[in-house]
């Protein structure tokens, strides 16, 4: 499902970062752990094909995103992975259901409002479809962001610090939700975090220890 081999990245400043090899099977979950500056976000960007590796490659569902340049690669990213970001960033000028439809649209699929609503219903937020993100509670935002990530039924889910600034109950709720939907989709789930509560919940952990000079 996901295979990372010999991957390294060179920052524009010159500092380089090497990542350990690892693989994730369908339905498998793992945590990418490490302190700030260890390259967790950089790894996610490399997997998403939004940064170009210096060496090595990333394969998602047998396809190498770095080989697909331009618009085709962009749409492929939309199809192959769903991303949940810290603080769940929805597009503020669109309603919840429009946010979900946007993910269909940019993945190169035909926008399907009915399917988007069905996904919202499966996450128990069907009644929030027409709301603006700023009218949602944190828990509702989480569900909306997850709905947007899974609407294209991607083989891989990426989550970047989904629990930061959440209390224990909320953190547990979002992790339970993520593992639940990835299980339902039989998708790989990779969670990047420095939160020890997350590490404690997952059996597979990819540790990033080194810190690159000049790395963000």
């Amino acid at each position: 499902m996901l295979a990372v081999n010999g991957l390294s990245y060179a920052y524009p400043g010159g500092a380089a970062l090497r990542f350990p090899d690892f693989a994730l099977a369908a339905g498998e979950t793992a945590v990418v752990a490490g302190p700030s500056g260890s390259g967790k976000s950089t790894l996610l960007m490399l997997i998403a094909g939004l940064l170009t590796p210096a060496t090595g490659d990333v394969q998602v569902a047998g396809r190498q995103l770095s080989e697909h340049r331009g618009a085709a690669g962009d749409a492929l990213r939309g199809q192959l992975m769903g991303v949940v970001l810290q603080s769940f960033r929805l597009l503020g000028h669109l309603s919840v259901v429009e946010n979900v439809v946007t993910a269909q649209f940019f993945a190169g699929r035909r926008p399907d409002r009915a399917q988007a609503r069905a996904v919202l219903a499966s996450l128990d937020i069907a009644d929030l479809a027409e709301r603006r993100p700023d009218a949602l509670s944190r828990g509702q935002l989480q569900r909306a962001a997850i709905a947007r990530a899974v609407v294209n039924r991607p083989p891989l889910l990426l989550a970047d610090e989904p629990t930061s600034s959440l209390d224990d109950d909320a953190a547990e709720a979002v992790l339970a939700l993520l593992t639940d939907v990835s299980g339902r989709l039989n998708a790989g789930l990779l969670v990047a975090t420095h939160d020890s509560r997350v590490k404690a919940r997952f059996s597979r952990i990819v540790e990033l220890r080194q810190s690159a000079e000049g790395a963000p």
Partner: protein
Amino acid sequence: MTLLSLALAGLRDNRLSHLLSVLMLGIGLGTVTLLLLFSGTLADRLGRDARDIDLVVGAKGSPLQLVLSTVFQADIPTGNIPLAEAEALAANRQVRLAVQLALGDAVGAFRIVGTSPAYLTLYDAHLADGRLWQKPMEAVLGASAAARLRLKPGDSFVGAHGLQGEGHLHADHPYVVTGILAESGTVLDRLVLTAVDSVWEVHEHHHHHDADHDDDDDGDGDGDAERAGREVTAVLIQYASPVAAISLPRHINLETPMQAASPGFEIARIYSLVGVGLDAFRALAASLILTSGLSVFVALYERLRARRYDLAVMRLLGASRRQLLVTILLEGVLLAGAGAAFGLLLGHAGVLALHHLLPAGHAFAVVSSAWRVEEWLVPALAAAVGLVASIIPALAAYRCDVSAALAGAEV
């Protein structure tokens, strides 16, 4: 969902600042529209009214005033010329057509012009209703004059002394309407036409009212002695040959008590006089459009900074660089389109307002609010402003570094 609907949603998001941009752009483009309508109609009108008139001969004075007062019916005449001189002109071999005009009275805001049917042939004018005048005190009305005065064939009206219809009424000399002209888009639309004899009849009566003048109702029956003292205001002339353009004006100006003025030459002078005003208007419109373009740019660019994270999220969702570029360009073009629509409406509404504010016979009231071909310039200008204002924000969106944008907002 399309890029268009995304662009529209983006515009809705910041609607106050975008509304302001549209307003500013609309006012700038409205000024351009007004200018196009104004200068276009003016050019049409000046050209059409003077098209087939080579020379105007009237009393000495300002040649511009002579042309304005007789060709465009927009100023007071320089004076009168003796009928005998006018008739001598008509007999000149260099003259193909000579049309006498006798001014002096008006009905409402519309001038009563004593003339001959040849005046109508100058403009290819046709009757829409009724017949031409055949004897004194019969009148044919131009289309606008008839509509405003609510007169139809068989009705009668009285003229008032003076060209604005502000003088005392010639109540004892009523005119009978015999015909209405079809709209010709020329000066004729605003005139009341009658025989020159009618004007003489009204005024001889008027001038000799207190004297022991025997009222002569039959204008045709005048003897030579009586004709000798008669005058007309001007004669419109068509040359028999191009050579006449050289010799005839010279002859008239040097050897007669009259002056000859060329409408073409005087139109050029009008342009040089009005041109300064039009240039000032153009500069105003240009600065308004420039400012509004800047405001569109600032609105899009400011929002782009606030939206960097959103753009990065869209990239994560699978948006290509080009899709982001097109979305921002669309926002600029949509704003410009709204500005163009608003500007065109504003310009045309401005002309309609002008019509309400100005008296019916006013020379500027001829500016038409009808759509003109040149108005394509307005949306074209708007599109250019929209593209130029959005190209830098759009390129910034195109180049947006997703990982830096996400990291930057994650503080």
